[in-house]
Structures are given as structure tokens and as C-alpha cells.
């Protein structure tokens, strides 16, 4: 008896929807196992991790807060991955975006006008786009592996940020702490809906919806999907793989950079040596869990954000290390990828001898 993969005639629409749910269920199962191995009641731990944060307003707000950058970065990454451009350096694009966006309030603190915030967001997007342009140009021009270059630039970006906040951008009145000056009010992203969420959340949702429309209804969206699935067919219809590499990286970089600026201007209010708990990497999981579809990504971003909050919750309530959050995130991506097999293949139980007999008949 053996299990065999049989290719489906077409993608299973049912599995397309079910596979992320199966993956989440399997992740919860695995997480329960880890909790019980480390000597905790798995049911209570799972409740504290996945359910309880949804029942209280403050933790719900915190989850939305964390989900926002994940969704924004994930949307950009989805365009990259759909078109077969493996940008895994969103973390670096996030950081450089934050640096560009902070240039105004850090270097010109007196510049307090209504234009301050829009300019910051613009600079942030430009910064992220420029940083993403490096691996894109190298790929388009020299065919350099974009996976490795974009990842290497993450390390460079965080070293640049480290240099700035410890060196030239350090707060002159900050007792030598490695942090920039606090942003003025006009450089701070306001809260909306009576303090329920930062302005970054509605901005992100609008961008996600626009992107969903572009992907589903426009020629550009068609180009992105065709070039991802069959670059050869795409090039016959006149689409340029190089052009799309540049486009997808710039878009992803701009969104990551925007997310970076909104993070420092909304939440942190200053630059610190580390400004991201790995949003750029977690967003990769978000993009895949969300089926590379902006609406899916909104849901997936919320799920992954929950894992950050849940990690904090089990740490404070049960003394489980919050490192469990990144384990669960990693497991989730594994299960998502494994379950996606079900979209293209189905399993069949076969007996070895019958398979052998079939071949002899042929």
C-alpha cells in the first residue's frame, strides 16, 4: 500500500479555500502539542493564544495595529510572488522607508505644516522603492539572483538605521540613548474612529482594495498573473519580464517603505535601533496564507498579527516564552505550503503490485 499524488485536471476551487483553513487547524494542533510538551495545558494555552485576544478591546486594537503593516507589506509581496519575483527583503525596504520618512521630522523638526505628514509618507514610499530597486535592477540587468541580494540588503538596511540612531541622527537632548528625537505632533499619524485605530489602518485597507481591483480587472493585473504562470506565453503577447521585475519590486518596496514610515510616525514616534519585530518576514507568510490575493491577505494579516499578541498573552498569563509566536508562524507557513499541494494534486491509495501490473500491460 502506498500513497500516490495524482495531478488534478484543474485547480480545485474547494481546496483553494479550504487549504488555509486546514493549515491553520494543523498549526493549532502542532502548537497544542508544543504547549503540552513544555508542560502546559494545551487547551488553555490555545485559548489564551488564539481566542482571548479577540475578546478584549485593547488586545483587539493591538492586533489591528500589528496587522496593518503586515497587510500592507504582504500586498506588495503578493504582486512580486504572483509574477515570479522572489523579493524576500521587505524587512529592509520597511526599514529604509522608515529612515526616509523620518528624515523630515528628524532633520527639520521646525518644519511643522499640514504638508509634513503627506511628505513623510511620500518619502517613505520612495525610500522603500529605491531600496527594492537595487535587487530589481540587478536582476533585470545582470540576471542576479534576487532572493539573495534582496535578503542581503535587509542586513545592510538595519546597519544603516543602527548607524543613524547611534550617530548623526541621535537625539541631541536624549542623554546619549540610541534614539532619534521624538516627532512633533504634525509629524505624527493621527488616530481615527475615536482612537480605535491609527490612520494607517484605513490607508492600508484602501490600498489593498485598489490593488485587488488592479489585479482582477486591469491589463496590468493580467500581465502580472500571466508572467508568473507562463513567462514564455507572456513574452509572446508582448509583456516584458524585465519591466515587470522592476514594477513589482518598486511597488512592493514602496508599500513596505510606507508601512515603515507609518510605523515610526504612528506607533513609535521616533527612530530606534530596531523598529520592526520582523514584519517584513512575517509578511511573507501573510502573502502565502492569503493566497496572494489582497482580500485574503487582509484576513491572513489579522491571523498572523494575532500570533504576536497571543505570544505576549501566553507569556504573561502562563509563563510560556513569547518565542512560541515565531515558531507558530513558521509552522503555519509550512502547513500552508503543504496543504496547497491539495489544490493541484489529490492523494490516491494504491497497492504496489497493482501499479506494477498496470505498467506491464502497457
Amino acid at each position: 500500500m502506498r500513497i500516490e499524488l495524482v495531478k488534478r485536471k484543474e485547480r480545485s476551487q474547494l481546496m483553494l479555500l479550504l487549504s488555509p483553513l486546514i493549515a491553520i487547524a494543523l498549526t493549532a494542533l502542532a502548537a497544542g502539542l508544543i504547549f503540552s510538551i513544555s508542560g502546559h495545558n494545551p487547551l488553555i494555552a490555545l485559548y489564551k493564544f488564539f481566542i482571548e485576544p479577540l475578546t478584549q478591546q485593547w488586545s483587539l486594537e493591538a492586533t489591528i495595529d500589528k496587522a496593518t503593516p503586515l497587510v500592507l507589506i504582504g500586498c506588495g509581496l503578493a504582486v512580486c510572488y504572483l509574477s515570479n519575483n522572489w523579493n524576500i527583503g521587505a524587512e529592509g525596504q520597511f526599514v529604509v522607508g522608515a529612515v526616509f520618512g523620518s528624515a523630515l521630522p528628524v532633520l527639520f523638526p521646525e518644519f511643522e505644516t499640514a504638508a509634513t505628514l503627506p511628505l513623510m509618507l511620500l518619502f517613505g514610499a520612495i525610500g522603500g522603492a529605491l531600496w527594492a530597486l537595487i535587487p530589481a535592477v540587478l536582476k533585470a540587468r545582470f540576471n542576479t539572483n534576487e532572493i539573495l541580494t534582496s535578503l542581503m540588503l535587509v542586513y545592510v538596511a538595519s546597519l544603516i538605521l543602527d548607524y543613524l540612531v547611534r550617530g548623526p541622527w541621535r537625539d541631541p537632548g536624549g542623554y546619549n540613548f540610541p534614539e532619534s528625537r521624538i516627532f512633533s505632533d504634525s509629524a505624527t499619524l493621527p488616530e481615527v474612529f475615536g482612537g480605535l485605530m491609527s490612520l494607517s489602518t484605513p490607508i492600508t485597507l484602501v490600498i489593498a482594495v485598489i490593488l485587488a481591483l488592479v489585479l482582477a480587472k486591469t491589463l496590468k493585473g493580467f500581465e502580472i498573473r500571466v508572467m508568473g504562470e507562463s513567462p514564455r506565453a507572456g513574452s509572446f503577447s508582448g509583456f516584458s519580464a524585465r519591466g515587470l521585475t522592476l514594477f513589482s519590486f518598486v511597488l512592493a518596496g514602496a508599500l513596505a517603505g510606507l508601512a515603515g514610515t507609518m510605523e515610526v510616525s504612528g506607533g513609535l514616534n521616533q527612530l530606534l535601533p530596531v523598529i520592526s519585530p520582523g514584519y517584513g518576514f512575517t509578511a511573507i507568510i501573510v502573502a502565502f496564507l492569503g493566497r496572494l490575493n489582497p482580500f485574503g491577505i487582509i484576513v491572513a494579516g489579522f491571523v498572523l498579527a494575532l500570533s504576536y499578541i497571543g505570544g505576549e498573552a501566553v507569556q504573561s498569563a502562563m509563563g510560556v516564552s513569547n518565542k512560541i509566536a515565531s515558531v507558530i508562524q513558521g509552522l503555519l507557513l509550512f502547513f500552508v505550503l503543504a496543504c496547497d499541494t491539495l489544490i493541484l494534486y489529490r492523494f490516491r491509495l494504491t497497492r504496489r503490485w497493482s501499479a506494477a501490473r498496470e505498467t506491464t500491460h502497457v
Binding site: L148, S321, V327, G330, F334, L337
Partner: protein, 304 residues
């Protein structure tokens, strides 16, 4: 002075050399495993933990190898049996490895570690100048050279190596000839995992005998770049690893001679050098096309 510099270059190059050699074997069989960083960090934390618990460095090293192999088995199952996307699955392995290592290692932060002993090779270690540098190293350094020699010989001088390369260059033909593509690839992936685990153990048991979160600091990714740099030839991996070892210790020695450069700039040199090297290699199309395994990263589903 020069001896001291050379010594640090060797210790910085060894983990890169080991991990890149393992990945080279995996890629030669046609499997791109981007999870080197994750397997390496698991090797580092498991090696440290076991050595700490048992007091035996050797057991730590063995456990690290086993951890790397376990991680790669997970990857192999997904990529080879479930035919998942190799790039995405490799990324998942790295994310998972970094997460798990953080969880396991939390108890060991700040715990003094165990350093593998140096083995003095009789006679040779007494040679003037080269003796102390080359022949007073720990076992893993010697092992790294043996590893490269075995892989170089095995890949190009043995039947097994021929089969492995055939599977990586044309899995359809290899399958038609009756070789089990999946089995050969699984073995190659496991070998890569073992090497990454060993490289991780070297970091936490010899390079800096302690556990620090994220202590691999991108070395797994640099090892991946080294495979490209070597254009899939084991002996060139040695050159690349030592070149990168030299770049990555610049920081250390620049501080000693008090050059006034931001330390962050020096720290970023290995990453910038990686990008530069990748560009130079990939710009030379002939070099990359000749040796790149033709089926690298391509999924294989045997039809019956």
C-alpha cells in the same frame, strides 16, 4: 599579527565552507534548499544545548548534525513528496528554524559554553609559521577540508556522483534509466542538512562558544551565495569561503588598529561583498550556464 589574522580567517571561513559544501551537493541533485540559515541555527542551538547538558562537545556536534538532518527531512518531505515550491518552502524552513532556535535557546542565553578542544597534529604543528595556524585547530576545521575533498572526489570521480549529477541535470532521463530521482534527492537534501547542522555547531561550540539569538547572522544565506560563486564546483567553494571569511573579520581587526570607520559599515561588508560577487558571477553568462544544474529548483513528479 599575521598569524592571528589568518587564524580568525580560518574560524570565520569554516562554517561557511561546511554549509556551502552541503548545499552544493543538494543543488547538484537539483534541489534548491533556501533553508540553510534555519538548519544552521538549529544546529547551533541544539549543539550548544546538548554539549551543555552532557558536557561532551562530541555529543553536541552529533546532535547538531542530527538536528540539521531532521530539519532537512522536513523540507525534503514537502518539496519532494508533496511537490511544494522549493523557494517558498526553503524560506519557511528558515523562518521555522529561527523561531524554534529562539524558543529552545532561551534557557541558554548567557550560559557559558563549551569550546571544542584544539587538536595538535604531531610534527606538523611544530612547523615554523604555518604549524600553529594550520595544524592546531579543532576537529571540525580538519573535517571541513576532508569534507570538501570527499565531495569533490565523490561528485566527479564516482558512480554515485554521476547519478547525483544526472538527477540534477535531467531528472526525466535519470528516471527513465531507472534511478529513483526522489530517493537520490532526498539523500542529497539530508546531506546538506547534516552539513548545515555541523556548520551551526561550529558557530556555537568553537567560533563563539555561547548561544546568542540569531547568531548565524545571515551566514546561511552567504553560504547559498557561495554555491553560486563557486559555479557548483566544490574546490571553488574553498576559495569563496576563505575570501568571505577574510572580509567578515575585517571588522575585528580594523577595531584593533583604530581605523576611524563606522563599525556598521565594516559589519555590512560581507553582505555588500556577497551582492557584488553575485553580480560579477551572474553577469558572466558562460560561467553560470555551464555548471548550473539544469533541473535546479524544478519539481519532479514521476509518472507511472
Amino acid at each position: 599579527m599575521f598569524e592571528a589574522v589568518l587564524l580568525t580567517v580560518i574560524t570565520a571561513a569554516t562554517p561557511l565552507l561546511i554549509a556551502a559544501t552541503g548545499e552544493l551537493v543538494s543543488e547538484r541533485s537539483g534541489v534548491l534548499n533556501l533553508g540553510v540559515e534555519g538548519m544552521m541555527i538549529m544546529g547551533a542551538v541544539v549543539g550548544f544545548a546538548v554539549a551543555n547538558q552532557t558536557g561532551s562537545g562530541a555529543l553536541g556536534v552529533i546532535a547538531a548534525i542530527a538536528a540539521g538532518m531532521a530539519m532537512s527531512a522536513l523540507f525534503g518531505f514537502l518539496v519532494l513528496v508533496l511537490v511544494t515550491n522549493q523557494v517558498a518552502t526553503g524560506l519557511a524552513l528558515t523562518i521555522l528554524g529561527i523561531g524554534f532556535s529562539g524558543l529552545i535557546g532561551e534557557a541558554y542565553i548567557g550560559v557559558p559554553g563549551l569550546k571544542l578542544p584544539e587538536l595538535f597534529i604531531p610534527v606538523l604543528s611544530d612547523l615554523p609559521f604555518v604549524g600553529p595556524v594550520l595544524f592546531r585547530q579543532d576537529a571540525i576545521v580538519y573535517l571541513s577540508f576532508a569534507l570538501v575533498a570527499v565531495v569533490a572526489y565523490g561528485l566527479f570521480r564516482t558512480r554515485l556522483g554521476l547519478v547525483l549529477r544526472a538527477v540534477g541535470d535531467n531528472h526525466g532521463s535519470a528516471h527513465a534509466l531507472g534511478y529513483s530521482v526522489i530517493r537520490v534527492r532526498f539523500a542529497a537534501v539530508l546531506f546538506g542538512g547534516a552539513c548545515s547542522g555541523l556548520a551551526g555547531a561550529y558557530l556555537s561550540l568553537a567560533y563563539t562558544p555561547q548561544w546568542v539569538e540569531n547568531m548565524t547572522a545571515g551566514r546561511g544565506w552567504i553560504a547559498l551565495a557561495l554555491v553560486v560563486f563557486s559555479s557548483w564546483l566544490p574546490l571553488r567553494v574553498v576559495v569563496g569561503a576563505y575570501l568571505f571569511g577574510a572580509v567578515s573579520v575585517l571588522n575585528l581587526h580594523a577595531q584593533a588598529v583604530e581605523i576611524d570607520i563606522p563599525s556598521q559599515l565594516l559589519s555590512s561588508l560581507p553582505y555588500l561583498a556577497t551582492i557584488l560577487v553575485l553580480v560579477l558571477i551572474s553577469a558572466n553568462r558562460r560561467l553560470t550556464l555551464v555548471n548550473t544544474p539544469a533541473c535546479l529548483g524544478k519539481p519532479f513528479v514521476p509518472d507511472r
